[in-house]
Amino acid sequence: MRDVAIIGAGMIPFGRRDEDTLMEMLAYASLKALDDAGLGDGTVDAVYLGNMGGGIIQHQTSIASSLVDRLSLLPAAAETVENGPASGGSALKNGLLAVASGYYDVVLVVGGEKMREVTGWRATDFVATMTHPQAEYPYGITLPGMAGMFTRLYMEKYGVTREMLVAVALKNQEMGALNPYAHVEMALSREGIFESPHAVVNNPTVADPLHLYDACPVSDGAAAVVLCPLEMAKKFGKVPVLIAGFGQATDTHTLQERDDPTDLKAVSLAAQQALDRAKLKPADIHVAELHDAFTILEIAESEHVGFFKKGEGGKAAEAGKTRLGGQIPINVSGGLKARGHPVGATGVAQAVEIVFQLRHELPKNRQVKNAETGLTINFGGFGNNVTCFVLRRVQP
C-alpha cells in the first residue's frame, strides 16, 4: 500500500445557492481543488463523488459521470458514493484506497448537495430516508427527533446541561462568523439565545430538549480534494497533507437495538482504527472537525474519539477547552452548526478545513497555531455509519 497525500483542496461558500445547479456547485469546488493542486490540464485518473440526495431531490443519478464530462476529465473513471450524511467521508475513503492500492495515481474526490431546492419540511423528510423503513420512518421519526431523544438520554446519564449545549452553539457560531465559507456567518449572544426571556422566540424548542441553535442549517454546498501518492506529491506546489489514518465502522440501524443508545460505538471504533493506523493517540491531535449536526453530537463525539472521558465533553466545552487556543480546538470552521450541512459535502469539507489548518493558511483568528495533525468524524445515519480520517502535515 502506498502513502496517500492531499495535494489540493477547495470549496465554495455554503448557504442557499438558488442560482447554482448541483452540477455547477460540484464543478466550482472541483475546479478550485484542481487549481489549488496546480494540476492545470493534468490528468485525473478517477473521480469519487459523495452525494446523498441527487436521485431524490434533483431526480438526477450518475452524477459523477456527468461531472467528469462537465469538467472535461474524460475518460477518467467516475463513481458516485451514497452513504447518507457520511457520503463525503466514504467518497474520500474510496479515493484513498484507489490511490493507496496503486490502481490510480491522481484522484479527485468531491462532495456536494443541493438541499435548499425544496422546503425545509421536504429536506427533513429526505434526510429521514436514512431511518429504518419499518421500525422508525412510518412513526414519524426525523433526525432532529432522534437527536432530541439522544440528548435527553445523554443528559440523564452524563449530566450534560443546556448550558453546555449553549456553549457549543456559541463557540461554533462565533467561529462561523469568521469563516467566509460558512452558511451562517453570524455570532450569537448567550443572552439572546439562552438567558433573556426573549430567547423563547429567538431560540425555540425544535426537538425537546434541543433548540433551534442546537441544530445545523439545511444548506447547499460542495467541497473537493485531490489525492495522489505521497512520493508524487512533493513535485506539486502546496505543502502535502498525508492521510495518516482512516477508520470506518457500522452500528445497528435503529437506536433502540443498541445495548446503550448513548454509546456511539461506530465513532469509537472508527476513531480507534484511524488513530492506530496513524500511530497517534487522541492527545496527539491538534485540531478536529467533528460532525456537530446537533450540539450534543460534538460533545458526545469528543468523548467517543477519546479527547475527553465519558461525561467530561460537555464540561470541557463549557470550560473553553475546545475553543481555538484550548486543549483541543474543535470545529474551528464553525462546524456543521455554522458552516452548514449539505449532507454529501460535509465529509469532504471537513477534510478541506483540516488541510487549510495543516498548511497554516488560515487567518490568525481561525488558525490553530503550529497545527501538525488533524482528525475528522463524518457521522452517517444516527451513528450507524461513521468515517474517521487522521491527517498529518508533511514537512516541506
Binding site: E185, M186, A187, E191, G192, H198, V201, N202, N203, Y213
Partner: protein, 229 residues
C-alpha cells in the same frame, strides 16, 4: 402637490379611534436590541426607501410582499385607507423590519404584511407578534384575519400559533383567511410574544432621532445574498 382640502374631506375615510402601540425592546439572538414602535404617518417616505429595494427581490416572495406593503403605506400616507397603522423594528436606529394592518371594524382586525429586512434573527416573528399584540391587547379587538403570501409566512403564522382556518375572504385576496382569536393568542403568547417596556431612554433616543436605512446593496445582500439566511 396641490391638495384641495374640501375634496379631501370627501376622499379621506373616517378613522376608528386607535390608541397608540406602546413601544418595547426585544433582545435578538445576536444580542442586539430591537426597538419596536409605531411609525407616524410622516415616517412613511423614509420607510418606503427601505421597502423599495425589496420590490425587485423574487426570493421568498419579497417582491409581492414589498410591492403591496409599498402601496399600503403610500395609501396610508395619502389618507386613502381607513384605520391603518404601521409598526417598525429598529436596531441601532436602522430599520430592520416593518408590519402593517388595519381595523376592518371595531372588533375585527385585518393583518396586511410583514417584511423583515434583516434576516436570520426571527425579526419577522417578533414584529408579527407585536402586530397581533396591538390588535388584541391595545386596540381591544376580538380577532385578526390573516393570509400568508410566502411559505415562510405560512409556517410562522398558520402553523406556529396555530391559526384557525375560515372561509372568510381576506382583503388581500388569495386563499381564505386564517383567524387569530383571543383564545389562540392567549395560548400562544408565552412562547411567541416578548418584549420589555418601557424602552430605555438611550435606545429610545436613537430609535426616534432618525429612521436610518441600509443602502440598496446592503438590503439585497441581507435578503437575497449568497448566504440567504
Amino acid at each position: 402637490m396641490i391638495v384641495d382640502m374640501e375634496l379631501e374631506a370627501v376622499l379621506r375615510p373616517t378613522q376608528y379611534p386607535m390608541p397608540p402601540y406602546p413601544p418595547k425592546v426585544i433582545t435578538l439572538a445576536n444580542g442586539k436590541k430591537m426597538v419596536v414602535r409605531q411609525a407616524e404617518r410622516e415616517d412613511v417616505p423614509v420607510i418606503l426607501k427601505s421597502v423599495h429595494p425589496c420590490l425587485f427581490i423574487e426570493r421568498d416572495y419579497y417582491d409581492i410582499v414589498s410591492a403591496r406593503l409599498y402601496g399600503e403605506l403610500l395609501a396610508w400616507y395619502r389618507h386613502r385607507v381607513k384605520s391603518e397603522y404601521c409598526l417598525i423594528g429598529q436596531v441601532d436606529g436602522y430599520l430592520v423590519g416593518a408590519v402593517n394592518g388595519r381595523l376592518e371594524n371595531e372588533k375585527v382586525g385585518m393583518s396586511y404584511h410583514t417584511l423583515a429586512i434583516d434576516r436570520g434573527l426571527r425579526i419577522g416573528s417578533h414584529l408579527f407578534a407585536a402586530k397581533m399584540e396591538y390588535h388584541l391587547e391595545y386596540l381591544g379587538q376580538e380577532e385578526v384575519l390573516i393570509v400568508a403570501e410566502s411559505p415562510i409566512g405560512f409556517r410562522r403564522w398558520m402553523i406556529e400559533y396555530p391559526l384557525e382556518k375560515t372561509n372568510i375572504p381576506h382583503e388581500l385576496g388569495g386563499g381564505d383567511s386564517y383567524r387569530l382569536t383571543r383564545d389562540i393568542y392567549n395560548k400562544a403568547k408565552a412562547r411567541l410574544v416578548v418584549g420589555d417596556r418601557p424602552v430605555p431612554p438611550d435606545l429610545w433616543e436613537i430609535a426616534t432621532r432618525d429612521i436610518l436605512f441600509a443602502d440598496e446593496d446592503a438590503i439585497h445582500e441581507k435578503i437575497a445574498g449568497l448566504k440567504g439566511r
